[in-house]
Symmetry: C2
Subunit: 360 residues, 2 copies
Amino acid sequence: MGGNVLSEAQRDKSVPVSGLVSRQVVLRSRPDGKVTESCFEFREVPIAGPADGEVLVRNLWLSIDPSVRVRLGADPVPGYLPPFAIGDSLIGLAIGEILESRSPQFAVGDIVTHIHGYRDLAVIATEGATLAGVGALTKVDASVHPPETYLGVLGSSGLTAYVGLLEVATLADGDDVWVSAAAGAVGSIAAQMAKARGHRVIGSAGSDAKVAYLLERLKLDGAFDYHTDDLLGALEEHAPGGIDVYFDNVGGRQLEAAISHLKPHGRVALSGAVSEYDTVETAYGPRNMFQVVSKSLTLRGFRSGAYNHLWDAMREELGGYLRDGRLHFEQTVFEGLEDAPSAVVAMLNGRNYGKTLCRV
Amino acid sequence: MGGNVLSEAQRDKSVPVSGLVSRQVVLRSRPDGKVTESCFEFREVPIAGPADGEVLVRNLWLSIDPSVRVRLGADPVPGYLPPFAIGDSLIGLAIGEILESRSPQFAVGDIVTHIHGYRDLAVIATEGATLAGVGALTKVDASVHPPETYLGVLGSSGLTAYVGLLEVATLADGDDVWVSAAAGAVGSIAAQMAKARGHRVIGSAGSDAKVAYLLERLKLDGAFDYHTDDLLGALEEHAPGGIDVYFDNVGGRQLEAAISHLKPHGRVALSGAVSEYDTVETAYGPRNMFQVVSKSLTLRGFRSGAYNHLWDAMREELGGYLRDGRLHFEQTVFEGLEDAPSAVVAMLNGRNYGKTLCRV
């Protein structure tokens, strides 16, 4: 680890590099309903070493995010990158170590986050070849927190939680907060961050065990299983006076229940709609949108990539909670690139606590 | 008109005032589906003359607003005043002339807007007895514009249009705008105001004649009948590049179409949901809420009553357009208090152009 594994000859991109092979997760077939492991296969891709302005990265951890599901379907989703083609290698957030650098900005041994996940080795251009913001090739300081933290609580999950609460939902003193998918990567951070700031926070999740986790480990003020037939009853029980802020990670019926249970001038930060990602059913439309008018509610969708100016502020606040032990952060880890497809399937089926990661 | 019609004896509230009678529209039965004239009846209510701090007002014009429908049903709507009880006299915005004043703030002959509509005579307390903001007893200058203007373009309709575009949808240079119910009281102002500010504006309405009106009289850049089976096709035809702002007066399927046709970072000002007011059908829920996330959209409901600090700014801008002839303002007038129920029914069935009024 950390050594220069390429010969001078291998550095010449015009010559195929014998022996330098990137193993990648490829879309084999589109899901017919729910995603299964058989939707994926592996491919060995011979790659050239880095040219000028490029680095060679060995991935250490892959971030397994719900949003990957959006690109597995055949239909483009407005605002998202287009669907993967059959036979495409997947991409996603990852953290790795630089094995070779032909850029003055990066040195061998640097730990970097980037968007070239779902593979073990990647050659990455240091400028211009990155997705907006969140996926940019970025050096992180792995001496204070373990590297995988920069995919989770101090990474895009943390930024999404931070931005959703403060910038999108404009969290204010005294607000009562509901977070859905509160045992998940983003939800668990958002819920604990709101708690740390002194708010009353309730959470929903998909099993009795997760509800217990929310109450006992995350110390939320109330929690319930979203499978209940009576979401409004559960909300009324756990947040009797209504809620001011709903941090939505799931959409569908929970969003509808939130609209009914929000107080006047309530705000919803819509971070995702995982209830709609992995299904062939028609998405559920909230039937109480008139309450958005009658109660002067604000519903605001967002992508953390638009808030790159807040990375430092987020890491200062959440890093502080981590050091103080006020932020409990769970990771569901799958071992080896071979298990990345299983990680995707498990995450989409809610079998994760906190951040789902694949250790390469 | 303008004289003092009460004797000294009649001013003593402890003595029933013979001959001073307010004729009022009363809720006779709740609508079973659509509202009909038979839901209402009339009642003669003997009233005492004004006590200290009160004024006696003879109504000149009644504002017939869609929101009255919300209070005719049995179920309370969160954020709204509670349903009228069977046998209650309706209230609503109105403009009238002060016949007698026992308040130093108001003089006989003053023209005032207030919330005591659906009747001919009203005794109104000058302080503390008004609804928030929009319905407050307020003197207007009827020397420049006719008095009924203060129920429409320079009244709550104008404030709703102004606030919705500028404060809620944060209209910005270059934004392309869609207004639904664009031939209606609020929509026709919002559409023309956006045009006057240099935006490309399209509108939807419920008949061929209204579509022609939008194009020929309001000079919109495109217009279509919302009854089409292909709302998205109509939007694509009239706003090929997408829209930045949707001013929503109707909710339902048009809101869903807007969510699909909005560009990234688009904004929706939700001013009403008339498609859901006068029906027994379950409200339609937009099934594409995930696009609120993927395109970072903002959907914001509002009530103009929260923006009373903008009355002067609104009247300056819209009053200027009126004087310049740049704002065409239609009124659908029903004659006589007896016709107020017919006015409500016609307005809810879309048989109006612009503001629906009842001349008392």
